[in-house]
Amino acid sequence: VITAIHIAIDLLREAVSRKWFIAIFVGITLILGASALSLEMEVVDGALAATTLFGESLDTEGIRPAEVVLRPIFAAAAYVVFYGGLVFGVLACADFGPSLLAPGRIEHLLSLPVRRWSLLAGTFIGVMIVALVAALYGAGGFTLILAYKTGVTSSGLVRAALLATACFAAVYGAMLSAATFARSAALSAIVGLVVFVGGIFSGYRERIAPLFEAGLGRRAFQLVAPLFPPISAIADASALIARDALLDSGDLWRRVIGMGIFGVAALLLAVWRFERADY
């Protein structure tokens, strides 16, 4: 396990040294900065009286308590943080697995006294830390901006970011697994996006299934959809949390733990494949 953690730290060093990765963080900072400068909210004693974004007036439905008016904004921001964070994670981290297994490098790593599973576990942990930091940076930054503008502080966005990270564990597990079958960043990203989109369908499968004609198509959908982690269900939960709604926490924890276990299962599949491979 300690070896895996060392590998994770190495991966973080690599992430920091990558200019493209830094550019993404700069990009998030610019978006947060633009939001901070363009979002003007007139708050009187805790009531939101007017809002302008990029000079355009937004309808606030009269003067209402800022916390109440901001609920949909927090919910929408939670969706952006959640889905945006996942897509960013898929694209930004697609290359980590294939580069670990790249010819030359993998032979060098395997010559070291390191267990194969530690290499993959370390990569998985490192990527998860990167994803967590990026998600918390975006969500925390937006929370601070809204708190400064309106005086309303809410941990909802940060909690949404944490839930997104749990979902990313499932997505990245599948991506890493794909990398052990073919050392391709493109394939890794495609698998990540397939799990992402499949996860959205899976979360809404009860609603989507009736849209299929009864018969083989619907039956196939009902069989395939549950194979994907229900990402949209967690996204909806994060939006509800962001708008201060009460949720069945036991139900949510069950799903989040399930997401984590999906990620670990995919990691085990990757380890199984990696142990069999000859380099």
Partner: protein, 357 residues
């Protein structure tokens, strides 16, 4: 060679364990992530379906039209060909806006026949039931015959079908009849209200005789009607509607920390209230003033006060009040603003649930 075979087998079995573990965990993950989409634990009350009475609807305009009749307060037309102007007797009997702090009308019959009315009827206790029975014995079936209740300070007007009403013994008080023009006023022998019956369709009740006489005079045309009624004809919408004087609001609010009541008394000219209780309860308070800038400032102050009230309700864990203030809003509109409150039926049902027991 024979030593290496078991070792290879063992390594292969070990690798197989990763696969078995992966499959087992996939199944476990699939089981844990099963089920429907997450939903809120409690369905939040929503203003989406609550009708807020912001204007007169066609049905209300028709209701008002049907109530119009020739009232003797209206001067006869100069030419026979001119149509006789019609007025609502209840509005005619009410004093003018300058003479009242409060003028409110309850559409009792509409409320009685609404979903909320059904709920309220379930809340009638034994004491109220016996009072209703007694009134029925005096020829006043409040549940069936009462149409409207109007309150103007110390004058109360009941409209409906009271042709057989015996006012002399109403409310357990004995009264003696005193003639007043073509009418009779029932005076209480010890204490109680002064009562008069107008045209078998309106009971006028006053704390003192002068109020009842003044109302009869307005109906008979002996006193000039007010320049405009306490409640404008175009404002008779909703199941509860009326006008409050800004000074009354100041009195009701007392010494509030933000001085909102005082500012309302200084800035506002007129305050109208309208409530729709057909299914849910939607309440609109309309505040009018002359100075648009001052009214805009006042609307923000009221919005801020409501936000602060919501905050303190949340801090004091008053969930009901917090939810209701969640749905409240202030809508500024130049020289007026409206305060809107919504009480969904589910909320009222939960509060009146004890009545069913």
């Amino acid at each position: 060679m024979s030593d290496r075979r078991p070792s290879r087998r063992s390594a292969s079995a070990k690798r197989g364990l990763w696969l078995v573990g992966a499959v087992a965990l996939f199944l476990c993950a699939s089981w844990l992530t099963r089920g429907e989409e997450p939903e809120e634990k409690t369905t939040p009350i929503s203003r989406g379906t609550v009708r807020l009475p912001t204007h007169m609807r066609h049905a209300e305009r028709e209701r008002q039209r049907q109530r119009m009749k020739p009232v003797s307060a209206i001067p006869a037309p100069s030419k026979e060909s001119e149509p006789i102007p019609l007025r609502d007797p209840v509005m005619t009997a009410m004093p003018g806006p300058g003479d009242t702090k409060i003028a409110v009308v309850l559409e009792a019959n509409a409320i009685r026949n609404s979903e909320i009315g059904e709920l309220l009827l379930g809340c009638i206790d034994d004491e109220a039931q016996s009072w209703l029975e007694e009134a029925k014995g005096k020829g006043i079936d409040v549940v069936q015959d009462l149409d409207r209740v109007a309150v103007a300070d110390k004058l109360v007007i009941l409209s409906g079908n009271f042709a057989g009403a015996k006012l002399d013994q109403l409310g357990g008080e004995s009264r003696r009849a005193v003639s007043y023009g073509k009418h009779q006023i029932w005076e209480p022998e010890s204490y109680g209200e002064y009562l008069a019956l107008w045209n078998g369709e309106m009971i006028l009740a006053g704390e003192n005789r002068e109020e009842v006489e003044a109302a009869l005079d307005r109906l008979d045309g002996k006193r000039p009607p007010s320049e405009r009624p306490a409640i404008r004809e175009g404002s008779a919408y909703g199941e509860v509607y009326g006008a409050l004087s800004p000074e009354l609001i100041e009195q009701l609010m007392g010494a509030d920390e933000l001085g909102i009541g005082k500012r309302i008394a200084e800035i506002a000219d007129e305050i109208e209230i309208h409530a729709d209780v057909t299914s849910d309860v939607g309440l609109v308070v309309e505040v009018h003033g002359a100075d648009p800038k001052a009214m805009d400032d006042l609307s923000r102050a009221v919005g801020g006060a409501m936000a602060m009230a919501r905050l303190s309700a949340g801090q004091e864990n008053k969930k009901d009040l917090t939810e209701l203030l969640d749905l409240a809003r202030v809508m500024p509109d130049r020289s007026r603003f409206t305060v809107e409150l919504a009480l969904p039926r589910s909320f009222i049902e939960s509060r009146l649930s004890h009545c069913k027991k």
